[in-house]
Amino acid sequence: MSRRSRRFVIALALAAAAAAIALASPEAFAQSGRNPFAIAGGESAGAASGFAGLVLSWQNKFHQELQAAAKALKTSPEAFWTLAGASLFYGVFHAAGPGHGKAVLASYMIASRAALGRGMALAALAALLQGAVAIALVGAAAIVFGATATQMKWAAANIELASYAAIAVLGASLVWKKGAAFLAAAHTPPLPRASTVFCCEAVGDPAHIHSDACGHFHIPDAAALESGFSWGDALGTIVAAGLRPCSGAILILVFTLAQGRFLTGVAAVLLMSAGTAATTGALAAAAVYARETARRFSSPESRRAKLAGAGAQLLAAVAVLILGLALLVGSAPGGGA
């Protein structure tokens, strides 16, 4: 095994371990307990430290600014601009915490070979869906049906359940595909030693034609390993990451509705989505960058590198499935710690 491919395997193993740890962290599963005053389910998590602590204090600041600006709307229309700014930054910092949406998106980016642009698009669409669901929920429930807080909580809990089911389905679909790709890679016979086979072909020939009997040998199922973008999975990722509305958005919408300024609330929530898209887009970019860095170290022909690559993708897929199932079990009626 060459030095390059060893580094590649180590880098991929690290990326896979990172995905596993991120998903298995207590925060990811801490959602089972439903906070008595939660609006759209348990978004809360426990301890914070270092950078996270700083993010937390910013989130807190922007949430309070949001509330103050929404309140000020009653008397001064120009408070809208403060509200707009606070909404945007609230979206940016709110998305900087952990959460199943980000875990799903990042794992999907590792598990699939989706390119940077696609990752950004997925992040943007997931963020937009999250805002749209909040607007639709409050719009339909509160304005059309005059729903009460209890009924809205019930509706939000069901949307949440659906989003967890979507994560599990996405995970299962990825495991199915990545499992097949991994098995294909595992069944590929090892490279024959170049020295054991006499190779008559011209080395350095740009046309590069040779038979399978030649020691220089391409991984046959490269297509299965390299493919990975499917619109079905991409749509599943958007739904899984973005279906659950955020409490902050619901609160702002109900609050502005109570003041007869629902459309202002809608604008604020769309700006929150833009802010969230910026952060989750950066996360998707980081996942792509990590993956591509790992690939750069690889010798493309190394069988072990291919196997490790397929293994890392499978691991990320398994992590999505486990996350979905754990969240489903945790939020099922009577479930949870």
């Binding site: 937390l56 915490g97 807080a149 902050g248």
Partner: protein
């Protein structure tokens, strides 16, 4: 790389509560429990009264009862957000009683309930409690004026509150090293930001 982003704190308050508490004593001078009045912020209040109340009037207690019920049902799992101690050992509470949720003229809602101790404790040893949400989804803060009162306490009993050290970055203050040290690994925001109430009797 993105591990640092994914882990950490999603926790930040979505709901603010101004707390006023009353420590209830029995005829035998023992501490029976804590009676809470939790006043919610304007946004959560707007959420709570949504769809309730007629002709723009604030909703009645009866109208708010279903929400009070769902709120209180999940309180046990969170230890009622009330953490009491005596002589270094933790005290347990029973299910809340006298639960009401009411709205004032400005449509600000207040949740009231009595939280009885599983076994009443003698008041001669200092009794203390804190109100906080360990997950920091809800930010609890005591009212500035008369945050805690005593009900039917024996003569000479007193109550005092200990404010937490300021944690959040003051806008005028520069981010200092101390600020980061406060967020040491495993730091629990809820408890770090919680006021401690201490009741002492002769």
């Amino acid at each position: 790389m993105w591990l640092g982003l994914v882990r950490g704190a999603d926790a930040h308050p979505h709901v603010w509560v101004a707390v006023r508490s009353e420590v209830a004593f029995g005829p035998d001078g023992k501490i029976l429990g804590v009676r809470h009045a939790w006043e919610f912020d304007e946004m959560y209040s707007a959420f709570a009264v949504q769809g309730l109340g007629k002709n723009g009037k604030p909703p009645t207690r009866e109208e708010l009862a279903p929400l009070a019920k769902t709120n209180v049902e999940s309180l046990a799992e969170f230890e009622f957000f009330t953490f009491a101690k005596q002589g270094g050992s933790k005290l347990k509470f029973k299910e809340p009683v006298d639960v009401t949720l009411e709205s004032d003229d400005k449509k600000i809602v207040t949740l009231r309930f009595l939280l009885p101790l599983e076994t009443p404790v003698p008041a001669q040893k200092p009794f203390s409690f804190q109100v906080y949400d360990p997950t920091y989804f809800v930010s609890f803060g005591f009212e500035k004026q008369n945050p805690v009162t005593l009900s039917k306490a024996p003569a000479g009993c007193s109550v005092s509150t200990m404010e937490p050290k300021p944690l959040a970055a003051d806008e005028n203050k520069k981010l200092s090293e101390a600020f980061f040290q406060n967020f040491s690994p495993g730091a629990d925001f809820g408890v770090k930001l919680a006021t401690r109430v201490i009741v002492a009797c002769p």
